[in-house]
Amino acid sequence: MYGSSMRFLLLFSRQGKLRLQKWFTPLPERERKKIVRDMTTLVLARKPRTCNFLHWKDLKIVYKRYASLYFCCALEEQENELLALEILHRYVELLDKYFGNVCELDIIFNFEKAYFILDEFLMGGEVQETSKQSIANSIEASDMLQETMEEYMSKPAF
């Protein structure tokens, strides 16, 4: 029985457009598409003054809206929802620090960076690093490594 604390993490806009999807359990493509549809429907239907938690199948869904983006994750039954809110918040802070006043457009046009940052923060559905600074340093170093290589190869970056 494979179970990670967090099953998936989705970012989508208020119109339901997917901006990022991270899956922490193996699922077929068709299943993933269905889940994305279900999540966007469920979360977008929530009224303003409701709490950030809801139940879906055997999972707890934690979501939070930041400006025009919904951050939505699914937890196993025994997980701590309040901590999940902190996790989502931490990710937003990391993005904000990297992009400087991050907005949805940043994530659209630099989606691969959003993934790289996420992969320094979470791994296998668990928190990997709890220090913001440490993550920022790693990302910076990786970017430098990429640039160095690019410079060396005299090829343009994306």
Binding site: L20, G124, S131, Q133, L145
Partner: protein, 792 residues
């Protein structure tokens, strides 16, 4: 071939597409170009192209042709290509694809790469989509990296190990030794990973769990350090030092302390400290406190600590943050049974949450409130619940109504309060109550005999106000029919005196009969009530007669049948009308499926009413009772009483308790051997009754019941009654006699014809009554399947 477009340029173009069709066109063209370039093995723009493909994939378009490109890019020496290649692998490949195996070798190589960032890519990808096979292959590598000196790699290797164990649990043994030593790391990332790893190992293996209990003091120390440490900028979140790590440690402590006194003792002080010192003004602190509460309630903690935990939850209820209120109630719900008194202290706050804006908070508040009802607080709490019922969102009404009924039944301080409460619910949420509410309420009303006058007045008033709530109308009609005389008398000490005339009452019932809002069942109630009033009123009997005769041609078959029978009661059988329609006795409260006890049947028997074998009013009376009380119990349909053989009284057949039923046929193996001699249905005290199937068609069965007596003395006053499911018609022919001679000298036979037009599952309950050796006996037998005939 169209020129390659930069990624961001492509994104811009896609976004500016005005229609879905336009977007599709752009993407298809670009994908074709990318595909072509993949084939050409173009060295320059490979990572570029893959990035574009990944974007398009996120929009929902197919990207499977990029899978091999991922494999190629991962194998590249260039970091930028590896980076996007691994990302592509995580997005496009899963363990089901063949291509995923192809990257195993690259991952293996990259795990030993000189650059830790390349190692990191490999570790991350393995932990994301590594199949069981890949995990087995690479586990030794990961184990080696666990002991590596670099904390950046160590923390990632640890979580990779977690993934491996989830995929291949047997490999847990490989990582257990290193796991413990990781706890002495200072780096929070590694420490966090270590705690997760140990948790995973303990959850999967009880022996490992036992072993790791010795780590409790160490974990307690680490926690203490976090809680008591000063401000640490690197890990601080709203005044809490590394809440992520704190929560994971608390969770591990929970697992280790569960069902173990020693371990629980060792962590008791720490938990008290965390519970007292953690600042819960922000979510981070609340998250830690929440986890603490969960741990305290799950381990063998001292009662003082438990009370502390419940008080934290109580405090949470007052928090401005809706999330925290929600969490608190979910937790309180889990512990309300075990720590009832502690939770009771917070009842006031819980009841206030009934007024919350959030429906999920309201729902939990409702469940908690219902769980907290006791004989002490029933009156005040019920007021709140009834108030809630009138204002709550519609999706919660049914739940609230049934919860209120259950609570009222358990703790009603008086019958009048009980009736009032049920009436209140019926007027507020009548359409949301369950079907058995009506018979349950009627039963309750009959048992409160001093309150009949009060009840009928209240119900009459409710009826004339509003006839849309069906359950209420049904109960009201029944009461008016039954206690109409009390209603007309006018004076009732408990309510204001009001003069109700016979015409008023008949008007009310007729309104119900004619209203389009009334369901067929409700109209049936109204018609019967009208009929019953014919013996309770004096002046307007003619009006009743005319109402009844009108409905004799009603299009609703049920109403028509009733009306025709009532008509007959007015004409041919008028001499019996008074007896038939007289006041019903108290209905005994049976089990939840409404089984009646044997005593009741005696009460319901109409003494000495002899009726020839035409199905009639007494049937009707009994039919009503059957409507109310589901005699056959459970999901089966209510029984129709048997038609009377001349000498005995028509009554609904009783169902004894389960133990009385001699389910002889139940144990019989269903091998359809035609048995001419019949099946034994009842055998006791020397009396044997067998069932023999005489004839069987698709829609009818004719059986003979044969009674014989092996005792020394005759059995006298022998009689059989039978009951069958509702859609089946029963016809009992006259028995051959009522004395079963001793020593098996002769038999009493009785033929029974069952008409089964709907071809339902045939069952029959038979009641045997007889006198033997001076004592009177009565027994029931159930026949669940009918034997085949001799000829079939």
């Amino acid at each position: 071939m169209s020129p390659s477009v930069r990624l961001q340029e492509l994104i811009r173009v896609i976004r500016s597409a005005r229609t879905q069709c336009e977007e599709r066109g752009v993407i298809q063209r670009e994908c074709a170009a990318i595909r072509e370039q993949f084939r050409q093995n173009d060295n320059g723009g490979r990572s570029h192209n893959l990035a574009k493909l990944l974007y398009v994939h996120m929009l929902g378009y197919p990207a499977h042709f990029g899978q091999m490109e991922c494999v190629r890019l991962i194998a590249s020496p260039r970091y930028s290509e590896k980076r996007i290649g691994y990302l592509g692998a995580m997005m496009l490949l899963d363990e089901k694809q063949d291509a995923s195996l192809l990257i195993t070798n690259s991952i293996k190589n990259d795990l030993s790469h000189s650059s830790q960032y390349v190692q990191s890519l490999a570790l991350c990808t393995l932990a994301c989509m590594g199949s069981a096979e890949m995990c087995r292959d690479l586990a030794p590598e990961i184990e080696r990296l666990l002991k590596a000196s670099n904390s950046y790699i160590k923390k990632k290797a640890t979580l990779c190990a977690v993934h491996i164990i989830r995929k291949v649990p047997e490999l847990g043994e490989m990582f257990t030794p290193s796991a413990h030593s990781l706890l002495s790391e200072k780096n929070h990332g590694v420490l966090h990973g270590a705690v997760v790893l140990i948790t995973e190992l303990c959850e999967r293996n009880t022996q490992t769990l036992d072993n790791f209990r010795k780590a409790v003091p160490e974990l307690v120390q680490i926690m203490k350090g976090l809680v008591m440490s000063g401000y640490s900028p690197e890990h601080n979140v709203a005044g809490i030092s590394d809440p992520f790590l704190q929560v994971r440690i608390l969770r591990l402590l929970r697992i280790l302390g569960r069902n173990n006194d020693r371990a629980s003792d060792a962590m008791n002080d720490l938990l008290a400290q965390v519970a007292t010192n953690t600042d819960s003004t922000k979510t981070a602190g609340s998250a830690v406190l929440y986890e603490t509460v969960l741990t305290v309630m799950d381990i063998r903690s001292e009662s003082g600590l438990r009370v502390l935990a419940v008080n934290i939850l109580g405090r949470f209820l007052l928090n401005n943050d809706r999330n925290i209120r929600y969490i608190s109630m979910t937790s309180l719900l889990k512990i309300v049974q075990t720590d009832h008194n502690a939770v009771q202290r917070h009842r006031g706050t819980i009841v206030d949450c009934l007024k919350d804006q959030d429906a999920s908070v309201q729902r939990r508040a409702l469940e908690l409130s219902l769980a907290l009802v006791s004989s002490v607080n029933i009156r005040s709490l019920m007021k709140e619940l009834l108030l809630f019922l009138s204002t709550c969102p519609p999706e919660l009404r049914a739940h609230a109504a049934s919860g209120i009924f259950i609570a009222a039944e358990k703790y009603a301080p008086s019958q009048r309060w009980h009736i009032d409460t049920i009436l209140h619910v019926l007027t507020t949420a009548g359409s949301d109550v369950r079907d058995e509410t009506v018979p349950n309420l009627i039963q309750l009303i009959t048992s409160a005999s001093e309150l009949h006058c009060y009840t009928v007045h209240k119900l009459y008033r409710a009826l004339v106000t509003d006839i849309s709530q069906q359950p209420l109308v049904q109960v009201a009609c029944w009461c008016i029919g039954e206690y109409g005389d009390l209603l007309l008398k006018g004076d009732c000490e408990e309510t204001e005196p009001v003069q109700v005339t016979e015409d008023d009452v008949l008007d009310a019932l007729e309104t119900v009969l004619q209203s389009h809002m009334s369901s067929p069942a409700t109209r049936a109630f109204a018609l019967t009530a009208t009929m019953k009033l014919s013996t309770r009123i004096t002046e307007n009997v003619d009006r009743i007669r005319s109402i009844v005769s009108i409905y004799g041609s009603c299009i609703d078959v049920e109403l028509q049948q009733r009306a025709v029978e009532y008509n007959a009661l007015f004409r041919k059988y008028d001499h019996m009308r008074a007896a038939v329609l007289e006041r019903m006795p108290v209905i005994d409260k049976g089990q939840t499926n409404g089984e009646m006890s044997a005593n009741n049947i005696k009460d319901l028997e109409q003494t000495d009413v002899k009726i020839p074998e035409v199905p009639l009013p007494s049937n009707q009376l009994c039919l009503e009772v059957c409507d109310l009380l589901d005699l056959l119990g459970g999901s089966e349909e209510p029984l129709q009483p048997s038609q009377a053989p001349p000498s005995s009284v028509p009554t609904p057949s009783s169902t004894g308790t389960g133990q009385d039923l001699l389910d002889l046929l139940g144990g019989v193996c269903p091998a359809p051997v035609p048995v001419v001699t019949g099946v034994t249905v009842y055998e006791k005290n020397g009396l044997t009754v067998t069932l023999q199937c005489d004839q069987r068609t698709e829609t009818s069965v004719t059986v003979s019941l044969l009674a014989s007596n092996s005792t020394d003395s005759d059995i006298t006053s022998f009689s059989l009654q039978a009951a069958v499911p509702k859609s089946v018609q029963l016809q009992m022919k006259a028995p051959s006699g009522d004395v079963v001679p001793a020593h098996g000298a002769g038999q009493v036979t009785q033929t029974v014809i069952l008409m089964n037009p709907n071809k339902v599952n045939l069952k029959m309950r038979v009641r045997v009554s007889y006198s033997s050796q001076g004592s009177f006996c009565q027994d029931t037998a159930q026949i669940d399947s009918f034997p085949t005939t001799a000829w079939s």
